[in-house]
């Protein structure tokens, strides 16, 4: 116990992880004297390892991500451990994340399940409950009677019962979609009388609309796939609707996540978005066998999220936010930035790298950061 206390005394001087490491690797027969020595050695090692002030960590991070990305394969689609579902992988995915694209090429949700279900209980059944279903899956036939200008919908009662959706008032549903038309239900059949005459085109459109009416499940989830990862069963879906998914009682709300950063931001907040940027990027590099320290990815993610909103790494995101006119101009669309600066009389204080490169001055990084001040007037006076 004493030892623990002694170690904890260093909590302020060392990061949590190192403290944990010390506790984990400490030999049992270690006396306090040795422990003290160890702790001092750890502290001195830690302080030696700290990044030096002025270190241009940003550029190092950019290099560490940019350099190996030339070795990544372009292969857009790959199997995410499941041969059934295609997921964007490799460089295109990294670009997608860092660009903070609003629409993903393969939106996905990973749904973790609560205890009995995570062992595989009813996995097929509950996964089917999640998938978005259209009305057309629950009808035998939808037909148009050209002579009477009516649409006839034959409901598939058996299937509706199978999916336990008998409580849904289908007539109401159809009624909503077919505004301005008369609807009535006779047993398992719904009729729509079209008031307007001879407008077959309109009726056809109506039929298509009814076919694609949302019926049950969770909107936007186009595909579901129960998979087993290790000992655990989970559901992977194509399509995203976290808000609705989290309402389901069998879902483990602590671990369920989506690959859409904006969705994570909306549902869980900016810190979750940051974490998911880190996770997505590291996962991509790992899958290609490329070793990148997490600190670099963290820095990029922090840069992308530090205003509380997600900013992509492009001219409408991070670069737009730069204080220096010349830095913005040197990236893309220089004329636009210069004109804008001229209008408002902006002043560039040359505080970042690129402007100083432009005018041949030392950059405020690394060895260019410290300043020596010499008072020349004084020296003159002395002489």
């Amino acid at each position: 116990m004493d030892k623990e206390k002694l170690i904890d005394q260093y909590a302020e001087r060392l990061p949590k992880r190192i403290i944990q490491d010390v506790k984990a690797h400490l030999p049992k027969n270690c006396d306090t004297k040795r422990l003290k020595k160890i702790m001092e050695a750890v502290v001195s090692e830690y302080e030696d390892t700290l990044a030096e002030p002025g270190e241009s960590v940003g550029l190092v991070a950019a290099e560490s991500i940019g350099e190996p990305s030339t070795q990544m394969t372009l292969r857009t689609f790959h199997f995410a451990g499941v041969s059934e579902m295609n997921v964007t992988m490799g460089l295109p995915r990294v670009i997608e994340v860092l660009d903070a694209r609003k629409t993903l090429s393969t939106p996905m949700t990973e749904i973790y399940l609560k205890k009995p279900y995570s062992d595989g209980k009813d996995i097929k059944k509950i996964s089917q409950r999640i998938k978005e279903r259209k009305l057309k899956e629950f009808v035998k036939e939808i037909s148009i009677n050209i002579v009477e200008n009516t649409v006839k919908i034959d409901l598939d009662k058996k299937k509706i019962e199978e999916y336990e959706q008998t409580h849904i008032n289908i007539l109401k549903l159809v009624d909503k979609a077919a505004k301005g038309f008369k609807t009535k239900q006779e047993g398992d059949t719904i009729f729509i009388d079209t008031v307007k005459e001879d407008n077959l085109n309109e009726i056809y459109k109506l039929k298509e609309k009814i076919k694609n009416l949302y019926f049950c499940g969770i909107k936007n989830i186009t595909q579901v796939l129960p998979i087993q990862r290790g000992d655990e069963f989970l559901i992977v879906t194509a399509g995203i609707n976290l808000k609705e998914i989290l309402k389901l009682d069998f879902v483990d709300t602590f671990r369920t996540k989506s690959n859409d950063i904006y969705e994570m931001r909306r549902v869980f907040g900016i810190e979750a978005a940051r974490q998911s940027i880190i996770n997505e990027v590291t996962a991509m590099f790992e899958s290609q066998g490329i070793d990148i320290d997490i600190r670099h990815v963290m820095l990029v993610a922090d840069m992308m999220t530090n205003t509380g909103e997600i900013m992509g790494i492009n001219r409408t995101g991070i670069v737009k936010d730069k204080s220096s006119v010349l830095a913005r101009a040197s990236f893309e669309t220089p004329i636009k930035h210069i004109i804008q600066a001229a209008m408002s009389g902006e002043e560039d204080y040359l505080s970042s790298v690129i402007e100083n490169v432009m005018i041949n001055q030392p950059v405020p990084l690394g060895s260019g950061l410290p300043k020596l001040i010499a008072n020349f007037d004084n020296q003159k006076n002395k002489r």
């Binding site: 290099e63 990148i292 690129i354």
Partner: protein, 856 residues
Amino acid sequence: MEEEIKATRKVKSIRFGLMSPRMIKEVAAAKVVTPELYDKEGYPVDGGLMDIRLGVIDPGLVCKTDGQKLKESLGHFGYMSLARPVVHVKFVRIILDLLRGTCRECGRVLIPEQKREAIVEQLDRIEEEEGMTGRRREFLSAISELKTVSKCPHCNAKQKKVKIEKPTTFTENDKRITPIEVRTRLEKIPDRDIYIFGINPEIARPEWMILTILPIPPVTMRPSITLESGERSEDDLTHKLGDIVRINQRLFENINAGAPEIIIEDLWDLLQYHITTYFDNDDSQIPPARHRSGQPLKTLTTRIKSKEGRIRHNLAGKRTNFSARTVISPDPRLELNEVGVPLSVAMKLTIPERITEWNFEYLKKFVDRGPKKYPGSNYIVRPDGKKKKITDETREQLIEEIQPGYVVERHLMDGDISIFNRQPSLHRMSMMCHRVKVLPGNTFRLNPAVCAPYNADFDGDEMNLHIPQTEEARSEAEELMQVQTQIVSPRYGLSIIGCNMDALSGNYLLTRFMKVTKKEAVDLLSSCSITDFSRLPDKPLISGNEVFSVLIPKDFNFIGTTKKGDPIIIESGNVKKGYLDSANLGEGSGLMLRNINKRYGADKSLVILGRFFRMGVQAAHKMGVSVNLADTDLDAKSEKDIKNIIEKAEKRVDELIELFRKGKLEALTGRTEEETLELRILEVLNKARNDSGKIVAENAKENTATNIMAYSGAKGKTLNIAQMAACVGQQAYRGGRINKGFKGRTLSCFSQGDLGTEAHGFIARGFKAGMKPNEFFFMAMTGRDSLMDTALRTPKSGYLYRRLANALQDLRVEYDLTVRDASNKIIQFRYGEDGLDVSKTRGGVVDVKKIIEQTT
């Protein structure tokens, strides 16, 4: 003294703004009135575009404004009065906003006084949050509400709808408003209303956006070139300006002569066109102005923008003197931090050395030898900054002249500091500092161990060499960029420099198989510049491990595993167990090299690494590593086994196809039956290839050169051996089998609808047995596909990298250990949450376990 103070002066800030007509006139050195450029003698005309008051581009002439000669005078702006005002294209959108947002009669903003405060407040808030662009956007939406306001809230004047036509014409209710009218309206807008638009009227009055006076850029920024024929070819800008001056003059004349309004308007439009293209010749809305040859003129906007433009090409990217570029070739006898420089290069590149009392005699000899004798010198620099070339004629005289305070630019010599670089410079290890080693020959020589950080090979790669010229630059290069400081990659905190190729196979051979006599051991060690042989055991036959151990420091301990998973134990500098391969000696490998680096420091570990490398190369030399066709021979049984495996697999595939044809193949969820079939076939064939590979691996003789390369990790995998000996395997194209080609078949030698293995790119035999024409073709298909992949990927990842670098380049660790950007905004409170510098860690962590073990 005075001069040195000047040298420390810095630009504090740069302010952007518009130039008022008055300001243009004030800074102008001359008024341009005539389109003529030169008179009969070829002398620039006064009042012409090449007026020598605007600067000089001819040798011998003197600028009339500052009295300086060519290359000394920076040039001066001129101006010209326009007969009629003209719209500046780049401000058209802003002018439109202003016209729409203000009253056409009284010029006040179309916001009622009582709402004004609220809107301004909102705009200011938006600007604070999102910057200027946010304000503009927000204002536009405010205006769009106001657009419906048909009456001015201040003077009740009726408002009309202002529209824009094509590039620069404004209309109001379909009636054109001339720039004169636009200008008078803009003039009426009071200063306090202009602020609402996000414009600072002290710096940019809106009426200045309508040009009445055109600044003429100095001649020095549009120099003419003299062709071989003696003819002068003017710069595009001069051409354009000539057009403008000409039309402007005609417009003047016509107005003065009282010409009909139609003619004047036509000329006015023409003037507008010329001035528009003068500013921007890439606007898609107007036909670009062209040369007689038809190629578009390069005017102001084209000069600034894009990769080849001023900003990215000349301002953000610079060129240097004192650099050299040539082909590279390997030389393992060099130290890792050395670079072999050809004599011819060493005699061109120089290092300035200041003469003092103490080195006077030393440097005098360099001057005496002159530029043609190595090591000599090419120039001397007098204290007043005058540079004198040393030639046979001037040499004698210059020797007499030099004295302390002079600078001698002497030839490059062994041990000088240089910066070596290979493009693409993707990470900081692409530019490292090497010490010069002057060698005969015409290529740069480098130790093959540093190929990895540069990503270089010797198939014709060229590299660049830079010689830092100041003491500060040299010391920074030496302290921060030298090879030994870059051994640990900041990407993952492990050694990026290690043994490769022959060095690996050699060390593997040495530590695994070799036994040498004492004499041979001494030979080996000598070639790694070891002179102390006391650590060699005194027995007639010495094992490879014992020889290698001499290179390891006496107090080094290490426990690790080899590539294959065997343990390797190093105890007090002796390899007790195991052997060395790429897992412990290679590039980007485990902790052995990293621990050596940590323990013994950069300089020493570089020496150790160099010795490891040379030992490997030497051992490979001694043993002889040479590939043999028989390396891939298999015994009869394995051959039969492999044949069996492949036949079985093909049969299995046939079964699957049969199943599919009958429609009995169960589709995987979310897949069609065809896709399922393809996946299943791929699975079967890959398994067959792997199985046959396993047989080859089991069968392989351990000590054939081919296997040694694979086992040591020098080059190739066992898979490659299997491909040579047994089976090349399925050719994967876009993640599946090959399905491209003719209708229903891949090549015309197959029947339509053939789903079999051979028809879709499975190559059942090995490289040694050879391939059939169709197999060869399939292989070429996948080969081509991967080439395409590379070609498409490079620009994509390059752009990603550029964006990343641009976005993150300002971030730095501050003295309070926070990470901040250029405007001092905190990005992270501690870099990477724990403040650790990855290149100082071991694989990204502080090795607590190691510390505990070491502290007793």
